[in-house]
């Protein structure tokens, strides 16, 4: 009993230490199956506490006949603008279950932003330029980010605690099951590997002899 008390006391102490830790920095490094940095991967951390989602407002521009950025991640309920920076018209659409829409985008004539309130993955296409592709990851959590060119993500100020970690990449070969991640240290790093189709490349505007950017 005493031993139990001691144990429970230790747990409490730990928790109390954690609760005492007001913020931590989490860095995650992602690599593909060849141990090379994996860019454009989305990592979502869902906490057990399930805090209220904070709406964001981001842009997915059409620039140089591509979507920029290639992958975006937002919490559900966020708003996305589709500014057309090209001279051509774009006809952006999505037939993804999370959000279906289509907007005709004329140069220099911004349309109203679109709200993505259902979590899921939305594949964006352009009906005029078939090769154009982009993805918007609509998450259930506020803690969602896209890896940079070094395959790294960083949350500098994250509440310590237990999280479910989701990783997604447009070229992934299979859906990845979420893994648990406890953030207990003030500065914590983690590394993950995701197998992707290495033959895929990010969409680019074909080098054509006619038309203009």
């Amino acid at each position: 009993m005493k031993l139990a008390l001691i144990a429970s006391g230790l747990v409490v102490a730990l928790i109390s230490y954690a609760s005492q830790l007001s913020a931590a920095s989490l860095t995650i490094n992602l690599t593909n199956q060849q141990q090379q940095p994996l860019a454009d991967a989305v990592v979502e951390l869902r906490s057990l506490s399930n805090p209220e989602l904070k709406q964001q407002r981001i842009q997915v521009a059409q620039q140089a006949l591509t979507f920029v950025p290639f992958v975006s991640a937002i919490p559900a309920g966020s708003v996305v603008e589709f500014p057309n920076l090209d001279k051509t018209r774009h006809h952006v659409y999505s037939f993804s279950p999370a959000k279906q829409f289509e907007i005709q985008l004329y140069a220099d004539k911004p349309e109203a932003p679109i709200t993505f309130d259902t979590p899921g993955i939305v594949a964006l296409g352009c009906n005029i330029h078939d090769y154009m592709q982009a993805y918007i990851y609509v998450s259930e959590s506020n803690l969602v980010a896209v890896s940079d060119g070094a395959g790294q993500l960083n949350w500098p100020d994250i509440a310590p605690g237990g999280y479910q970690l989701y990783i997604w990449h447009p070229w992934q070969l299979a859906d990845r099951q979420p893994t648990a991640l406890d953030v207990v240290m003030p500065v914590q790093t983690a590394a993950y590997t995701l197998a992707v189709d290495l033959s895929q490349q990010k969409p680019q505007a074909p080098q054509r002899g006619f038309g203009s950017r």
Binding site: H91, L124, D130
Partner: protein, 771 residues
């Protein structure tokens, strides 16, 4: 068939040519066929590529169409709606827009969302990975028993939201379309379900069934060229799908690739036939140019061989000509040698006249057709002349005589030398007596032999003949007989006398038959008693020989003994006589122990030194005393070789054999010999006895002879007493014994025995009466 040179030559040429042409033709045709086949295979290769190209091009075209469809926003939008009815209608609408016979839609996981036909997706799903890289996959698939060219294209929005597939039937219109490009017939078939095989083909209906039976073979080897004798196409199978279940067969008709080959073959056969005909004609002509002269030569040689007057074929300049000249030379040589041989065969080498052989050859024809005269000449005593002058001079003499005969006029038809000194002449006419005398005279003048003049005595026998009357041998014999007569006359001319020939024939028969007659009992002995005048008793007899010839009848002993003496056979008769008599004496020894039988000996017997020994042996053999045997010899026989005969007689006398001189008084012996002769008895010839009672001279001779003989110590026997009157004269003259018909003719053995018995009895009676 192949015996003649011509057929051998023709056969050889034809066989060689055929062989050459067949080999050439075979090689040419084989390479031509291989070439044609290679070209055909090349064509098939090209066609196969074109076919593949056509399929690929269609696939590309279809892919474009389907890709366009998949990119259509409305289409993608409709798929995105996920409304089944909408999706199906969209699929149908777009499918018909590009004339697809099959339209289907798969979700990204490969599950069937919609289809115009009810299908199993497992075939299709394997195509999906292929689409990831290239955005489209095409294959030919067997769906529900039908072959489709299927194009599968992902529908991206922009991620893959579905797979849209469009199928186009692989059918006859497609085959026709490709046939239009390649020019080849095309069939589509499936590996499965061979039992109720469905062909999709551009082939005419009647060849389809033939093709079905070949499918097993064809589909065993993809991309190989297939031949079949009963199928007038060459075929190449081509696998259409990845599982090798669908095949396209490309057919090239045989006549297309074989036509040049067949044309060449036809031309070769024509050339072959033409060449063969030419070769046959050439071979025939050439063979005839060889075989005809050879055949002529062969006839020529055969004519030469048969001795015919052969005319040689024309002499050409080639080897045949050489052979012809050789044969002609041979012909001349043969003729010359034949002439020489005939000359040698027909002519006498010494005189150059014809020989006996030639006479015998020529005479029959002459005797048959014409009249003429045969003359046979010989030289009297030629042997003596030869001995005297020498053989060489004898020959010269014959040559000189031959010359005179040859030069005689009128000329003889021919002159011949028969043998030795015998010549024959034939005249084609009957010569007059004067002509014959002239001929004879012409031979009389002396002959000059090494400056010695020799006179010849010539005997000529003459035989004139009429056509067809005598044979050659008869004629020669007759002229020979005539010449012999002339010779015996000591020369001169003698004609053949009719009948001479028959006498001659009889002599020949006697000579021929004598030995046989001695053995067969035709000859027998008779005995004529000799009676002693003083005692009127008979103690001796003369054995005489008799011959009863089966054809000639009774032959006089005078005749056949003379003939036997001439022919040298007399010793046969003497031997036989002695043996027969001695045998008989042995038989009579018991009854007439004092009987003595006399046997006649001829001159030849007396010259035989073995005679005494033979007689002695004979006597001993039959146990007959020598005193029982008497031998009689003629005067003339003794005169032959007196000393030798006397020696023989002495021997015989010493053996105690009684010896008598027969026919005494008729010979030419001198009395001087008489005293030397060791004889016991003389027998006075019948010539002096038979007429003694009437002829006083005979009586005188007999008286004198008896006295002479008695004086010399000989007994005397008179032969030929025929009557009683003579007996008294003989008694008076003092003869010791008498032999003759008065007492008895010669008697056969049994009769003689009987006579002896009777005579003894009579003598006894007479004696008793006289007492």
């Amino acid at each position: 068939m192949f015996n003649s040179l011509r057929s051998k030559w023709i056969s050889l040429l034809v066989v060689l040519l055929s062989l050459l042409m067949l080999l050439t033709g075979y090689a040419t045709l084989k390479s031509m066929r291989a070439n044609s086949l290679q070209q055909a295979e090349l064509s098939l290769d090209v066609a196969s590529k074109v076919f593949q190209q056509a399929l690929d091009s269609r696939a590309a075209q279809l892919t474009n169409s389907v890709s366009l469809l998949a990119a259509d926003f409305g289409f993608r939008q409709a798929i995105a709606t996920a409304e089944q009815a909408t999706i199906e209608s969209v699929l149908q609408n777009h499918g018909s827009r590009i004339n697809a016979q099959l339209a289907l839609l798969l979700n990204p996981q490969g599950e069937l969302l919609a289809s115009s036909e009810s299908i199993d997706t497992s075939d299709i799903r394997q195509l999906l990975p292929a689409t990831l890289g290239s955005d489209a996959a095409t294959d030919i698939l067997l769906i529900d028993g039908k072959a489709y060219q299927l194009v599968l294209v992902p529908v991206r929005a922009p991620v893959i939201i579905a797979w849209v597939g469009m199928g186009f039937l692989v059918d006859v219109p497609l085959a026709e379309q490709i046939k239009g490009i390649t020019g080849l017939d095309i069939s589509f078939t499936q590996l499965d379900n061979r039992a109720n095989q469905q062909l999709t083909t551009t082939l005419p209906a009647e060849t389809q069934s033939q093709l079905i039976s070949k499918l097993d073979d064809i589909m065993r080897y993809p991309d190989a060229t297939h031949f079949a004798a009963d199928f007038s196409f060459i075929t190449r199978g081509k696998v259409l799908d990845s599982e090798q279940r669908l095949w396209a067969l490309l057919h090239m008709p045989d006549d297309r690739w074989l036509s040049s080959y067949q044309q060449l073959r036809r031309q070769l056969v024509e050339i072959f036939a033409f060449g063969l005909v030419l070769a046959l004609i050439a071979a025939f002509l050439f063979a005839r140019s060889i075989s005809r002269p050879l055949s002529q030569l062969s006839h020529f040689a055969r004519d030469i061989g048969q001795g015919n007057a052969a005319v040689p074929p024309t002499i050409s300049q080639d080897e045949i000509g050489v052979l012809t000249s050789t044969l002609v030379n041979m012909q001349h040589s043969i003729a010359a040698r034949e002439q020489q041989l005939r000359q040698q065969a027909e002519h006498d080498t010494l005189t150059g006249l014809l020989n006996r052989h030639a006479v015998e050859q020529r005479l029959p024809a002459i005797l048959k057709t014409q009249r003429g005269t045969l003359l046979q000449l010989n030289i009297i005593q030629f042997k003596h002349i030869n001995d005297t002058l020498g053989l060489a001079n004898g020959d010269t003499l014959l040559q000189l005589l031959a010359q005179r005969l040859g030069h005689h006029q009128p000329a003889a038809a021919f002159c011949a030398r028969l043998n030795g000194d015998e010549f024959l002449m034939l005249f084609n006419e009957n010569l007059t007596e004067q002509q014959l005398v002239d001929l004879y005279n012409s031979l009389q003048p002396a002959y000059n032999i090494q400056n010695s003049l020799i006179n010849l005595k010539i005997a000529i026998g003459i035989y004139p003949f009429e056509p067809g009357q005598v044979s050659a041998s008869d004629a020669l014999r007759r002229v020979d007989l005539a010449q012999e007569n002339a010779s015996q006359a000591g020369g001169g001319i003698a004609f053949y006398q009719s009948g001479q020939d028959e006498t001659h024939q009889r002599e020949l028969t006697i000579i021929r038959d004598l030995p046989e007659a001695l053995n067969s009992g035709q000859l027998y002995v008779v005995y004529q008693p000799k009676v002693e005048l003083a005692s009127e008793q008979c103690h001796s007899a003369e054995a005489l020989i008799r011959w009863q010839h089966p054809q000639l009848g009774f032959i006089s002993p005078v005749e056949f003994i003379a003939t036997a003496e001439h022919s040298g056979n007399i010793s046969l008769i003497t031997q036989w006589m002695l043996k027969t008599v001695v045998k008989q004496l042995a038989a009579w020894q018991a009854d007439y122990p004092t009987l003595r039988i006399a046997v006649n000996l001829s001159a030849a017997d007396l010259l035989d030194q073995n005679l005494p020994q033979q007689i002695s042996t004979l006597l001993q053999q039959y146990q007959v005393p020598a005193t029982a045997l008497a031998l009689e010899v003629t005067e003339s026989a003794v005169m032959q070789d007196t000393s030798k005969v006397i020696a023989n007689l002495n021997t015989l006398k010493a053996m105690a054999i009684n010896l008598a001189i027969d026919d005494f008084g008729t010979g030419q012996s001198s009395l001087a010999y008489l005293k030397q002769l060791p004889v016991n008895e003389i027998k006075i010839d019948r010539a002096f006895v038979k007429d003694i009672e009437t002829n006083s001279n005979d009586a005188l001779i007999v008286n004198a002879t008896v006295k002479l003989a008695h004086g010399l110590g000989f007994k005397v026997t008179a032969e030929g007493l025929e009557n009683l009157a003579g007996l008294s004269y003989l008694k008076e003259s003092g003869c010791d014994t008498v032999q003759g018909y008065f007492f008895s003719k010669p008697l056969a053995t049994a009769e003689f025995s009987q006579w002896l018995t009777n005579f003894a009895a009579t003598a006894k009676q007479t004696a008793e009466l006289s007492e």
